[in-house]
């Protein structure tokens, strides 16, 4: 069953469908949360919160017809950063539209895409990898990264952007 059909079943109240969503995406949501928080119990809390949003409001996601894996990944990261920095949520959790031409992509296509991204990350220069990691998985501002690395603010911005562009190119190649 593809994501669209799964979400439609979730919207009709099927707990079996929600269990299937859990089987498909809980690991990646948990791993992203763990990468940010470094604490398994906190990461599991974030995972539960994110997936329960799919259960509570599946119709909002069905209407947006985005890429479910991408949506869950972004929300998992954002929630984890919120917890890490003990701040109020950045975005209303159900209102982060992420329309993608590869809507509801096949699992195999998604896996292939992520493998490609992993490949380019291995070759990403350390001066790009570091600031990208600090900004995305530690939630540091560019000012904080500049202070921590001793690099000029503009350089930090440029390196984060360059790292992200490398990932984008890998996704479209």
């Amino acid at each position: 069953m593809d994501d669209a059909a799964l979400l439609a079943a979730v919207a009709e109240g099927s707990q079996d469908a929600m269990a299937a969503v859990f089987d498909r995406y809980s690991r990646i949501v948990y791993c992203i949360a763990l990468r940010v928080l470094k604490e398994p119990s906190l990461a599991e809390d974030v995972m539960q919160e994110v997936l329960l949003q799919v259960w509570k409001r599946p119709q909002s996601f069905v209407a947006q017809r985005g890429n479910l894996a991408a949506w869950l990944s972004v929300v998992a990261r954002n929630r984890s950063i919120d917890v890490l920095r003990k701040r109020a949520p950045l975005d209303p959790i159900g209102e982060l539209p992420l329309p993608d031409p590869r809507d509801m992509a096949l699992e195999s296509e998604q896996t292939w895409l992520i493998d490609k991204v992993r490949g380019v990350l291995e070759t990403l220069p350390a001066e790009q990898q570091g600031p990208l990691e600090l900004a995305y998985f530690q939630g540091l501002s560019h000012t904080e990264i500049a202070e921590r690395t001793g690099s000029p603010l503009g350089t930090v911005k440029t390196r984060i952007r360059a790292g992200l562009m490398t990932i984008r190119k890998a996704m479209t190649a």
């Binding site: 948990y30 791993c31 259960w55 949520p89």
Partner: protein, 302 residues
Amino acid sequence: MTDILHIADADLTLYAMGSLAPEEMEQARLHLLGCDKCREELRQSTLALAAYAQATPDAGLPEGAQDRFMMRLQQTPQMQAAAEAEPVKTAVAPVQTKPGQTKQGQAEPGQTTQARQPVVAAVAEPPSLWTTLFGTGAWSLALAAAMAVLLLVVGIDDMRNRAAIGPLQGMAQRGEADTAQLNQLMELLTSSQAKRVALHPGPVTAPPPDARVTYAARTGKLLLTASNLHPLPAGKVYELWILQPGGKKPLPAGTFAPDSTGNATMILADAPTNLAVQGFGVTVENDGGSDTPTLPIVLSGS
């Protein structure tokens, strides 16, 4: 990064991560409201960041994680689609209300939870009252009555609005109101085509500045009421801007200055007509106004 130029790519990447300073996040959010190009760039960056997140090495789930999740699932009710819509915040007098004339303000991507929930409401139309009041020739009575009707029609639901309209009501009672201007005001406020937009400040301070704009695109009539505005230095005024979709240049829509209590009212009878309006913003400009907004945008709403 302005409403005329596009957001720098590096800044857009940081916006996608939520890593810009709060005031920069707000400026970018406002720009994105009306810029398809930057929204597309943001979408691409967000998808790339999602892929970056998904490339995280697999660490496996903790023991019993699925059981714990399913237990919480069984205790968690689903929300119905209809229940998600918040009630529309209007208080139009029952006799003037027409079903289906209100709609809810909508959140956009990247919006914060503290964010604004602008109320956009079409104003009900009472032609019989209008004809009755202004067909008598009893101007002082009519003006006072008109202001009373105005208060009902607009659906004033908070004390700030009452404070903003108060000076106009006093003018009517003293017979000092300009009849032509009041006619235009009434026409605007009773038009079924008019929209009301609540403008809010960025970081909240107490008491926060607040402004409301009512604009009829067809006739080019516009009313702004504001309260709790910060006093301005000599030679400075507030300027209202009409924000257009598609990254078009914001249009100036008049300048105004607060009185000693921070209230301001501005009525324009000749605002630009037939515009697709994305929202409104207020900046501080030199006396006489400007052709292009000077950041920061101190109040905004969409």
